[in-house]
Every structure is written in structure tokens, then in C-alpha cells.
């Protein structure tokens, strides 16, 4: 398959070999599962169970909280011990509403599962979307955007290609690699079902060339699947970025503020495709995911299939615990992952990796003055000038940074990664983006208030007008009456 060049990017040390050859192992059921209501982008889910309820595996615990939202199901059977605030897997570690489930050990399925969709490749696309929404599937590559919403893109646009993202360009992470190697048929079946939902004629699976086994196994499996192409893409971070992968495959840049769907391409992760396969073929909701537990401070790094809600500390101790104190605990990959404040946070739908990184691995140093080497400009996959944006942001001139494109930054981290002065460029950009979002919210609020004020003013005006009109009518009537009385 002909590929197209993608500008910029870096070649980080991949360090995948420690986990890429060890098969996925299931995590033994922990003592408690902590299921946050917000594991996805959008509105939090709304609990439909009460404390003390006994639930079965697969039973719904919380319902969708809006059109962009996802339900939460019980990963195993047990008792609802609490619905309370618990530390979120977020750098802040702030508590968020969480359902605490105490497993009973029976792991007994509920009888209330929907029946498999017969012949999903010929069924009504709406039925597939509905099933995916029911299953609580979100983007398992890390973005955690509700997949059913993304499958709806085909209703307003013509989608030509469903692009299955097996790039896995983040260092350390091998969960997608293992899923492709061990469950190729499931991934491809899920992909074809999703393509049906989108109305896409073709499925393209993009895998970075540093995963030759996955390429081979998926390629073989694709021979049996009509309309599916498996292709190697260059190992060039951030190849796994939706827009960049799309460019590599179809050669078109997604316009700013548009979606890849506007070019006829929808991108889904390999693990998401597998989850769709389970939901459609077996009527099973999303209950677990594969997590790469790695980094130099983890004793036995490997890929773990963990029930949602398991604590990070459960995963770490299952992997032999920490061999030495880590410098950072990272949720996700080292390039775009988020630092975690502690191990006592749950694994959620978007957790692709848990990394305990040593000081040598993070290679953090105090930042030095910028020497304007321009490497950040050369490697920026978005064509930005990080050095200049950072200079503006340092002076808190966020608007100037916005003018030269800080909003177009995808926070891939390539610039910080190469900076010889170790300047935390992405940190600056994240700050600026947060600040700009606040400003936007402020503007929207002001606009909203001014519309309300305007509406009130015109309403009062109308009332006054009506009163005046009524008074005028009364006056003429009165005048007419007195007139006729006088005449009489």
C-alpha cells in the first residue's frame, strides 16, 4: 500500500522489548473495585444501583448521563460497598464520585445480557451503534471518547475508510501489540462491524513497522476478511495521532478545527475494535482492558488484563511490585501520559499503561536557557514554532501564543523530548490551552448573559408596548362611550 510522508516527529527509544514478548495475563480479582462514574469524555454516568445491592457480572451500575457519555457495568459479581468520592487517576488525585464493588468471588454473569446480533455485517448500522453505546465502549487508545458517538459520524458524512490504529507509537506500551498478536481475528471482526456501522467500504489497519509479528499475524488474519488491508507505517512518533496516521494513509491533512471524518476517515483503536466484537457477537459490555505495566522500577513488567476499577497498586503488586523507588508513575505512555500522584487510583477504560519510571529513564534535568537551536521547530509534527510560543507564554501573553497556533498543538511532547535545554515546552502549552479554554468559557458565559439580558429587555419592552396599546384601546373605547352617551 502506498504511504504518504508525515512531517516532523521524533524517534524515541521504544523500550518495548521488556513486555512485548510476554503474553497477556489476567489479573486475579482484587478485594475491591473502584469504578469512577467519569471514565470517559463527556457527561458522567448516573448510578442505577444503591449501596448494599448485590450485583452480577455485566449488570449495569450506572447509566449514560447524556448523549456524549458511557454507562458503567459490574466487572464481576459482588456487593456495592459504597458510592463515594475516591481519588481519580488524574495528576490532581482529586476525589470523584466512584462506585465501590466488593467482589464475591463467584464471578457470576447476569442473565440480563442482550442476545448477540445475528449477522452484524448485514444488520442495521443503528443497531450496532446502539449496542456499542449500551456496552459502554470508549476509545481504548487512551482518549476515552464514547465510541458510539464516533460511529455516528457516518450518518452525516460519507465515510470511505475505517482506519484501525495499531500504531502504538508511545514507548513502553505493548498492550495493543499483544492484543493484535493474540486476538487478531477478534480485532478484525470488530473492525468490520464498525465499518458496517459507519458505512465505510474499506478497513485499513495501520501498524508501526517496529511490530513485525503483529503485522504478520494481522496480515494473515486479514486474508480471510474482505475489504481489510493491513499496512506497516513508519515508526515515527506521533504516528498514532489520528490526524497524522490519516495523513500517512490517505495523504491528506485534516483541516484545522475539522475531523478526519470530514476527509472520509474515522479512526478507532485496535482494542476498541475487539471490545465491539465482544459487545456485538456475545452481548458483553466492556468490563476489562489490557494494561501494559512497565518501566524500570517494575519488577516483572508485563501486559495485564485487568478488570476496570482494579487499583493501580493491585496491578503493580501482581507484577512483583516496585524493585526501586520510581521517579514518576505514569498513566499511559511516557510521551503523552499523565503523572499519577499515587498508586491508589483505579484502572479506568482509558488506562493503556501504568509505568513506574526510574530517574535514569525520565532523564529529567533542570532547564537551561533556550539556545534557539530550532530543533523543536524542525520536529514539530504540527508545523508550529514551539520556541516562540513558549517565549510568549512565559511572559503570560497567551493570546499572542494563540495567534501563532498554540491551539493547534496536540501536546505530543516531541519538542520537550528533544529540547537540549530541557525546557518543559508542553507544560507551557498545556497551561496556555487551559487558560484559553477558561477565556473561551468566560466569553461564552458573557454572551449567554447578554442574550438573556437582551431577551429580558425586549420582553419588558413588549409588555410595555402591549400595555400602552391596551391603554390606547381603552381610551378610544371610553371616548366612544362618552361620545355616544353625550349624543344620547
Amino acid at each position: 500500500m502506498k504511504l504518504f510522508p508525515v512531517r516532523g516527529g521524533v524517534h524515541p527509544e521504544y523500550r518495548k522489548e521488556r513486555t512485548s514478548e510476554s503474553p497477556i495475563v489476567a489479573l486475579p480479582l482484587p478485594r475491591a473495585l473502584y469504578l469512577p462514574l467519569q471514565q470517559h469524555i463527556g457527561a458522567p454516568a448516573v448510578p442505577v444501583v444503591a449501596v448494599g445491592d448485590l450485583v452480577k457480572k455485566g449488570q449495569r451500575l450506572a447509566d449514560r448521563g447524556g448523549s456524549v457519555s458511557a454507562p458503567v457495568h459490574a466487572p464481576t459479581s459482588g456487593r456495592i460497598a459504597a458510592i463515594t468520592d475516591f481519588a481519580a487517576p488524574h495528576p490532581s488525585g482529586l476525589p470523584q464520585p466512584t462506585i465501590v464493588l466488593e467482589p464475591d468471588g463467584a464471578d457470576a454473569w447476569t442473565d440480563d445480557l442482550p442476545s448477540p446480533i445475528a449477522d452484524p455485517l448485514d444488520t442495521d448500522p443503528a443497531a450496532i451503534r446502539e449496542r456499542v453505546a449500551w456496552a459502554g465502549i470508549v476509545g481504548l487508545g487512551g482518549a476515552a471518547f464514547p465510541s458510539a458517538v464516533k460511529l455516528q459520524l457516518g450518518t452525516e458524512r460519507t465515510i470511505d475508510i475505517l482506519l484501525i490504529n495499531g500504531a502504538e507509537c508511545e514507548p513502553y506500551l505493548t498492550c495493543d501489540d499483544r492484543v493484535m498478536r493474540e486476538h487478531a481475528a477478534e480485532v478484525l471482526d470488530g473492525a468490520r462491524i464498525m465499518a458496517r456501522a459507519l458505512g465505510a467500504a474499506r478497513v485499513v489497519v495501520g501498524i508501526e513497522e517496529n511490530k513485525p509479528q503483529a503485522l504478520e499475524i494481522m496480515g494473515k488474519a486479514a486474508l480471510a476478511a474482505a475489504g481489510v488491508t493491513v499496512t506497516a507505517v513508519p515508526a515515527q512518533y506521533p504516528m498514532g495521532s489520528e490526524r497524522h496516521l490519516t495523513q500517512a494513509i490517505i495523504g491528506k491533512e485534516t483541516p484545522a478545527r475539522k475531523l478526519t471524518a470530514d476527509l472520509g476517515v474515522v479512526v478507532h483503536n485496535v482494542a476498541t475494535a475487539r471490545a465491539v466484537h465482544h459487545a456485538v457477537r456475545f452481548g458483553r459490555p466492556l468490563l476489562a482492558r489490557v494494561v501494559t505495566v512497565g518501566g524500570g522500577a517494575i519488577k516483572d513488567a508485563r501486559n495485564v488484563e485487568a478488570p476496570l476499577g482494579a487499583l493501580v497498586s493491585d496491578l503493580v503488586s501482581f507484577c512483583g511490585g516496585l524493585s526501586r523507588p520510581p521517579k514518576r508513575i505514569v498513566n499511559g505512555g511516557p510521551m503523552m501520559g499523565q503523572p499519577l500522584p499515587s498508586l491508589d487510583v483505579p484502572v479506568v477504560k482509558g488506562t493503556s499503561g501504568i509505568l513506574a519510571l526510574t530517574t535514569e529513564e525520565t532523564n529529567e534535568r533542570p532547564s537551561q536557557p533556550c539556545i534557539r537551536c530550532g530543533t523543536c521547530v524542525t520536529i514539530c509534527p504540527c508545523g508550529l514554532v514551539p520556541v516562540e510560543m513558549a517565549a510568549y507564554i512565559r511572559k503570560d501573553n497567551v493570546e499572542a501564543a494563540a495567534k501563532i497556533g498554540v491551539r493547534d498543538c496536540v501536546s505530543c511532547g516531541s519538542c520537550s523530548y528533544v529540547c537540549p535545554s530541557h525546557i518543559p515546552l508542553v507544560h507551557y502549552f498545556n497551561y496556555a490551552k487551559g487558560h484559553l479554554n477558561d477565556l473561551d468559557r468566560e466569553v461564552r458565559k458573557r454572551d449567554h448573559i447578554s442574550t438573556l439580558v437582551e431577551a429580558r429587555r425586549s420582553r419588558l419592552e413588549k409588555q410595555a408596548e402591549a400595555k400602552r396599546a391596551a391603554a390606547a384601546v381603552r381610551k378610544t373605547q371610553e371616548a366612544a362611550t362618552t361620545d355616544s352617551e353625550a349624543r344620547a
Binding site: P334, E361, R372, G374, P381, C382, P420
Partner: protein, 358 residues
């Protein structure tokens, strides 16, 4: 666990790059040409080299402590050593010690620290130092000696060498013009290029460096080797050197074709004087050149153009330092106007149109 874990956003891995290693690579690239010229010009060159770098280091330390800034890592990051090194390479090899010291004051104090230290300076410190002493002390700065290779019969002994560098007033009849200077002088006397070019060292000596000139710039070949090393190590990219040398070559060749008596050839421009040192080591200075590749092309073309104009029409035989300084002044403007195209946007910054959209 403490919040020390979450005090910064990613990435949590880093390329094995640092300011120190970048500077060290440049110094390594300069080493062959430097060693060759120390051999070629003898002990005085070595003394001058040491005095220049030494005074730059001392001045850097003094400026840092005046500004209440920590000495580490500013002193050891190699940037000031590089400034001193390049400055030494741009001085006549037998220049007296005080020329080097004054040049160092201009370079480190005025060009670098007055602007705020590393990364903040608008002008290339080494070139500011060189140009300042060139205009102030034209006699000392144009007293170029022919090669006096170490341990050869013509070479001054250790004591004589100390007298040359530190004694002062030993500038005698030993001086010889650089090839560029010779042609300039002859032209002003009405002698055409075609005649005067016969008297400069032949092409091979020019390329190898066996002729008079500034301490570090005579051997085009070794400088070129250093430049190639920097390209290979990806410390610099081809844009500035190719644009600068290319412009110089094209202009030289064109005008030489039109009037060979008035204009020297493109090849002569390229291999003489500070062209290679300037194109690979001076104009590519990170701090004072544009950050984008497109901008670097514009900047390189400007450097080449100005070098040719100054060499050909101005009073000085050599124009690289002036050209680079003038283009340094334009760098902020180039950076403002020449940016890469943002992903998903047109050059103007609007979102790309979608096919079928209006």
C-alpha cells in the same frame, strides 16, 4: 507519596541531548582546523588561543556573579568556550594579547551579557568582538603573517613567541596580506584581478591552508571537514551553509563572467577568507540565526549576498563578519515572517479547504 510526582506534565522520557553535548560537538568539529593552524602559525597562535578563551571564561564568570546568577552550569555548558574559540580563530594568529582581551570584552560582556546572557543575544558574540577590534585596531588586525610552521626553521622560538604575543611592538616586516586583501589592494592601485590573482597562493595551498590569514580560517579543507561532522551529527543542517556558499559562488561566478578584471571568481570567493568558517560555524550559530529551516535559507542567502557585496565594493577585503552581524539584526524579522505552515492550515493560517467545500 508526595506531589513531587506530579509537578510537571510529560513527556517523562528525554532524548540524550543537552546544551553541553551540543557545544562539545561543535568544539570537536573545530579541533582539526585549530590544531593545524596552531602548527602552522606556531607558539604565538597557541598563546593567543589560550588568552582569548581564558579571558572569555573570566569575563563570563565576572558577568554572572555581577548579575547574581549561579556560575553553574553557565560556565561549564561550553557556550563561552565556543565563543572564545571562534573569536580566537577570527583574529590574526600573531595578534598581541590585549587585542584578544578587548575583543573578549566586546564579545562576552557587551554582545552577550548586556543582552541577558546565553540565548538572549541578538548578535553573534565572537563576531561582535572581532569587528570591534577590527575597526578599532586596524593595524594589529590586518597584520597577517605567512605560515611559520612549528619546529620549522622559520618558526619563532618559545621566548620570541612570548614576546610576539605578550611583548607588544614586535610587529615587523614579517606581515603579508591575505589573498583577499592582496587582490583588494591591487585593484585599488588599478591592477586587474587577472594579474593580481597570479600572486596569491595557488588553489591547492588555498584549500589546504598554506597561506596567511586569520588564525582559524586558512584551511578550507579542515573547516569543511568540521562542518561535515556537524552535519553528520545533525548539530547543523545544510540550509545556512548551502544557501550562503551557494549565493556567494553564484554571484562571484556571474560577475566574474561579465568582468573578469574587476571581479574575482566564484570559486576564489568560496575557498578564500572566512567563507567556510563563517558558513559552517559562525552563521549557523543557533542563538543569532532563524529557528525555521525556511528562515535559515533566507538568512543564508542574505549572508552570502552581503559577504560578496562587502568584499567587492566596501573598504574591507573580508566581509563575512559584517555580513553575519547584519543578518543577525534581521533574524527576529525573518523569524516573524518566515514560519513553517501549520498542520491543517494554509500559509495564511486559515483552515485548509475541504474538497467540494467553498
Amino acid at each position: 507519596m508526595t506531589t513531587a510526582f506530579t509537578d510537571k506534565s510529560g513527556p517523562f522520557t528525554h532524548a540524550p541531548t543537552s546544551v553541553q553535548s551540543t557545544m562539545a560537538t561543535v568544539l570537536v568539529a573545530l579541533l582539526p582546523a585549530t590544531l593545524f593552524n596552531i602548527w602552522l602559525f606556531g607558539w604565538p597562535a597557541l598563546f593567543l588561543f589560550a588568552v582569548t578563551i581564558g579571558s572569555c571564561l573570566l569575563l563570563e564568570a565576572a558577568c554572572l556573579s555581577l548579575a547574581n546568577k549561579p556560575l553553574q552550569p553557565a560556565i561549564t555548558d561550553g557556550s563561552v568556550v565556543l565563543t572564545g574559540w571562534l573569536l580566537a580563530m577570527s583574529l590574526p594568529p600573531w595578534a598581541p594579547w590585549w587585542v584578544a582581551c578587548i575583543a573578549a570584552i566586546f564579545a562576552v560582556v557587551l554582545a552577550k551579557h548586556v543582552f541577558g546572557g546565553l540565548g538572549q543575544n541578538v548578535f553573534n558574540p565572537a563576531m561582535v568582538g572581532r569587528v570591534a577590534v577590527l575597526v578599532s585596531f586596524p593595524v594589529q588586525m590586518t597584520a597577517f603573517v605567512p605560515p611559520h610552521p612549528l619546529f620549522s626553521l622559520r618558526a619563532p622560538g618559545l621566548i620570541d613567541s612570548l614576546r610576539i604575543t605578550f611583548g607588544g611592538g614586535t610587529l615587523d616586516s614579517m606581515t603579508a596580506a591575505t589573498p583577499l586583501g592582496h587582490i583588494k589592494t591591487e585593484l585599488s592601485r588599478g591592477i586587474p584581478v587577472g594579474t593580481s590573482i597570479q600572486q596569491v597562493p595557488d588553489l591547492l595551498d588555498m584549500v589546504l591552508g598554506f597561506h596567511g590569514g586569520s588564525f582559524g580560517e586558512t584551511s578550507a579543507l579542515l573547516i569543511l571537514a568540521g562542518g561535515a561532522y556537524l552535519l553528520w551529527k545533525r548539530i547543523i543542517s545544510w540550509h545556512v551553509p548551502v544557501a550562503m556558499i551557494g549565493t556567494l559562488f553564484v554571484l562571484g561566478t556571474l560577475f566574474h563572467a561579465v568582468s573578469p578584471d574587476r571581479f574575482t571568481s566564484g570559486l576564489f570567493h568560496v575557498i578564500s577568507g572566512a567563507t567556510f568558517l563563517g558558513a559552517f560555524f559562525i552563521a549557523t550559530d543557533y542563538v543569532t540565526s532563524p529557528v525555521s529551516k525556511q528562515g535559515q535559507l533566507v538568512y543564508g542567502i542574505g549572508c552570502g549576498l552581503l559577504t560578496w557585496v562587502i568584499r567587492t565594493f566596501a573598504g574591507y577585503p573580508e566581509g563575512v563578519a559584517f555580513a553575519v552581524l547584519l543578518m543577525n539584526a534581521l533574524t527576529p524579522i525573518i523569524d516573524q515572517h518566515v514560519r513553517p505552515r501549520v498542520f491543517g492550515r494554509t500559509r495564511k493560517g486559515d483552515p485548509l479547504p475541504i474538497k467540494g467545500d467553498k
